[in-house]
């Protein structure tokens, strides 16, 4: 008699089949050995699978990054916003005249630095262009910085996410052709669409667009980078 011992273990035998199997188990040593063998197999594979090394610390850190901190209190928020406005005004006076003379369309880069270190890229961009640059880490969407670059009137970061390459290009709003831009919202925030590219506007009249990769990826990169672009006022 053939008994499907996996079905027996899974509880998917009919009551009649199960009764036959139970009877066989009482009388047939080979049947008991079969069932024991299956159970040992499942136990062995479970133990082997669960014994694999898991990078717990890294995964916990990823989880913390995926779930941003809770909103700050109204008072803290008010103070922070007040400070940001004051800083923007001061910076507007001090560095406004030499902030990004980004009147040219994107052209061949003057220089490129390959690095995944956001601070290194930012320092390099600022020291070479003598202009403020945001600290784009691109980590909020699980991406990795590949390089930073600049040219006449523009700065850009290349990043990689899910084996896809994306570019984040920043220019003065007046330097972009905004005639064919449409508006959309993602996660409650407004974005601009220019062809396939996703953009947003931030301080100092700057506009950034994300290109490359997938449509969903562009939205995610834009969402993550948007949070970081206001830091331009802290230069």
């Amino acid at each position: 008699m053939f008994i499907d011992w996996q079905a027996y273990e899974d509880g998917s035998l009919s009551s009649e089949e199960r009764a036959q199997a139970d009877m066989l188990l009482q009388t047939d040593r080979q049947a008991r050995a079969e069932l024991d063998g299956l159970r040992q197999f499942r136990s062995a594979i479970r133990q082997a699978g669960q014994a694999e090394t898991v990078p717990t610390g890294t995964l916990n850190e990823m989880l913390r990054r995926a779930a941003p901190p809770q909103p700050r209190s109204q008072r803290t928020l008010f103070l922070t916003m007040g400070f940001a406005v004051a800083a923007a005004l001061i910076l507007g006076v001090l560095v406004g005249p030499r902030i990004l003379d980004l009147a040219q369309p994107k052209s061949q880069p003057t220089s490129v630095l390959a690095s995944s270190d956001p601070q290194e890229l930012r320092t390099w961009l600022i020291s070479n262009t003598r202009q403020p640059a945001p600290l784009i880490t691109a980590q909020g969407c699980g991406a990795r910085l590949v390089d930073g670059k600049y040219g006449p009137g523009w700065i850009a970061w290349d990043i990689e996410m899910n084996h896809q390459k994306y570019s984040i290009v920043g220019k003065k709003k007046s330097a972009w052709d905004m005639s064919r831009t449409t508006e959309t919202t993602y996660e409650g925030m407004p974005y601009m669409l220019k062809g396939d590219d996703v953009g947003w506007e931030c301080e100092l009249d700057m506009v950034y667009f994300v290109s490359g990769g997938t449509s969903q990826g562009r939205l995610e990169v834009a969402r993550a980078a948007r949070r970081e672009t206001p830091s331009i006022i802290r230069v």
């Binding site: 053939f2 008994i3 499907d4 011992w5 996996q6 079905a7 899974d10 998917s12 080979q30 050995a33 079969e34 069932l35 024991d36 063998g37 299956l38 040992q40 197999f41 499942r42 062995a44 594979i45 479970r46 133990q47 082997a48 699978g49 669960q50 014994a51 694999e52 898991v54 990078p55 717990t56 890294t58 995964l59 916990n60 990823m62 989880l63 913390r64 990054r65 995926a66 779930a67 941003p68 901190p69 809770q70 909103p71 909020g140 969407c141 699980g142 996410m161 899910n162 084996h163 896809q164 996660e187 997938t214 995610e220």
Partner: protein
């Protein structure tokens, strides 16, 4: 769900599932770094969709996101690759669970498991390693319960055959 409590709830709920997600990511294929990338993307997607989660079978929900991400990556990286159900490999019909010497080392078991087609090694990972019920595994794999049952039957038999050397398949024809 109160938005203000969302991050804490998410972190608290998902933290116990991290190891499972990582192991399933490894089983889907790729090295440790790729598995970490896949888990990270899954966590971001899960957080974005957290308010839409119905509260049932968190583990299945997370694995489903992870698997969808994996399939998206595979499709974009290798568009020529078929993601259809693999042709069912031939397995021995004779019952011989008892014939196996269950003193096989864990690394041997995992090595042979890795050689199975993705569909089969994942169903073993979900049902035998992570001990999901058929219903949970079906939800994670986005397929009927009956499909999980038949895949698991075949996957175990295939692994058993590999371990006993009844059939010798090369990596190329699996």
């Amino acid at each position: 769900m109160n938005w203000f409590s969302r991050p804490r709830d998410f972190e608290k709920s998902v933290q116990p599932e991290l190891a499972v997600l990582y192991r399933v990511a490894r089983r889907l294929g790729g090295n440790a770094e790729q598995a970490e990338d896949l888990v990270q993307t899954t966590l971001i997607k899960a957080y974005q969709a957290w308010e839409r989660f119905d509260g049932r079978h968190l583990r299945s929900w997370l694995i489903r996101i992870l698997r969808n991400e994996f399939l998206m990556n595979v499709r974009s990286a290798r568009p020529e690759l078929s993601l259809d159900e693999p042709e069912a490999p031939e397995v021995s019909q004779d019952p011989f669970w008892s014939d196996l010497a269950w003193k096989i080392q864990a690394d041997q078991l995992l090595e042979e498991l890795e050689k199975l087609p993705e569909t089969y090694r994942v169903v073993i990972q979900l049902c035998d390693v992570e001990q999901l019920s058929y219903e949970e595994a079906a939800e994670a794999m986005d397929c009927p319960v009956g499909t999980i049952r038949s895949r698991l039957f075949r996957a175990r038999a295939l692994l058993r055959d590999r371990l006993t050397g009844v059939i010798s398949l090369t990596e190329d024809n699996v």
